[in-house]
Symmetry: C2
Subunit: 307 residues, 2 copies
Amino acid sequence: MEKYVGVDVGGTNLKFGIFLSDGQLIKKWSIVTDYSDHGIHMWKQICEEINKNIEKKDLRGIGIGIPGPVLENGFVEVCVNLDLHNFNPASVLKEYFPDVEIAVVNDANAAALGEQWKGSGQGYRSIGMVTLGTGVGGAIIIDGKLCCGANGLSGEIGHIRVNSDEKEECTCGGVGCVDQIASATGIVRYAKKLLMENDAESSLRMKEEFTAEDVINAAKAGDNVAEHIINHCMKYLAKALAAAAYIADPEVFIIGGGVSNAGQYLIDIIQESFNTYITLSKKKALIIKASLGNDAGIYGAAKTVIG
Amino acid sequence: MEKYVGVDVGGTNLKFGIFLSDGQLIKKWSIVTDYSDHGIHMWKQICEEINKNIEKKDLRGIGIGIPGPVLENGFVEVCVNLDLHNFNPASVLKEYFPDVEIAVVNDANAAALGEQWKGSGQGYRSIGMVTLGTGVGGAIIIDGKLCCGANGLSGEIGHIRVNSDEKEECTCGGVGCVDQIASATGIVRYAKKLLMENDAESSLRMKEEFTAEDVINAAKAGDNVAEHIINHCMKYLAKALAAAAYIADPEVFIIGGGVSNAGQYLIDIIQESFNTYITLSKKKALIIKASLGNDAGIYGAAKTVIG
């Protein structure tokens, strides 16, 4: 039976999924990424896992999602989190699988393709995908097609400058990126700053350390400070989404990533703030939650070779 | 001989161009727009001009550029400058020209198509078009195709929020839009504000009234205050272009509209500022000047029916 593999390369885990041509996911698993020695062992890990789990005669294609900008020719300049520089993932994998179709896609782009194919993006022709995790990732699908961009920057919503009050530098070298305020990291950072700056009562003060999830849960429970934090951070995300709407104007923005587990509560906050920024049209893009969770990447990566 | 008409509907003038199928412009002219009575006389003007100038048997198509968001079905909710509301330009023109192909396109989109077809965008597959005139208009072409958007907002770069210090409202109802600071109107407004706020010596103080062109000319001549004004206003444009790059990532941004007559001097300022915002990639989109001037709109409108 024809089988396809979707691989999602992450800084922590390598996720694998085996798919049939109709998109049925028949097996999924993950292993810890070995990113020692500038990630050279990782390729061996990937190939061994595929070989162990699929008979060679069945394997038709491997799609691989990479956490970094992928140029049109498949070249990757840098994966910051993996300390990998200037490489071509397809060339590397071709050495191990010379007769198999290999496709390389940015991980956020993969998530967007996955959500469009089998997730909450089904039925939409144009999609803005945003992943709120350690950082803010994103991707744009227009007229059913991934917008890949001329310089691998398409969909990098996280690096739109939205906060002119920011003083610290973003990992990208810029200052005031949405990544710095609307990611899980950014929410915690802003929360700590705010709690330091004033004495307002908040359940967040009870913990020595807290996560973005803790802040969201406190906000849901009616903690005023936590509510302010979430509204503030999501306002900047909404501002970036509005910029995306004024450029690519998708039908829908899909919010994924760990932070999106906060559910409809968070989606409503983003939608409300987004609407205030879209003053030029009565029709506003819909903000919805991603539905494939951590599997979006393997779905999308597989889709690139299933076609 | 097969002929095609491109019409550029503006608040001041109606511009017409007659084209052959290879894109040769064989005649162009303009008349003053009669936008009285909510613009109902304008349609008659357009039809009469076309009838007067082309024999019916030669006329194959009419493309019409409209200064407002055009929905996918060709419907226009509003043209603010013409006081026109909720109409379908193609339906109106079809009554006069039942056997002729009619296409409707947003005017900034038309300018982008024109520049891509016969202007400085030739050879580029993905283009961000920006027109700096009374307002800031824009359009996005991706993979050779106009990005029309789900809500008629695609390419409305002018309404990306870039200036969090802004206090006044933009015509769109928002606050801090790039339209308010990088348009000809915006440049003059900021210049007046700055001259009011301090006593720095400037040649601009010699005039009772001045235009954006005057400010640019003073800057070119080495007037420090004028230089500061232009750098400041273009910084916000560059910030919006960077947002566009992080979304649609075109190969090139084409700067058109009256302000772009300032030429390479202005382009260099925009490029330099833009580069500082694109921290995620070494490769940056190129900023170039439009080359069709006021004719871009009729070229692009005609292109929509020449195909």
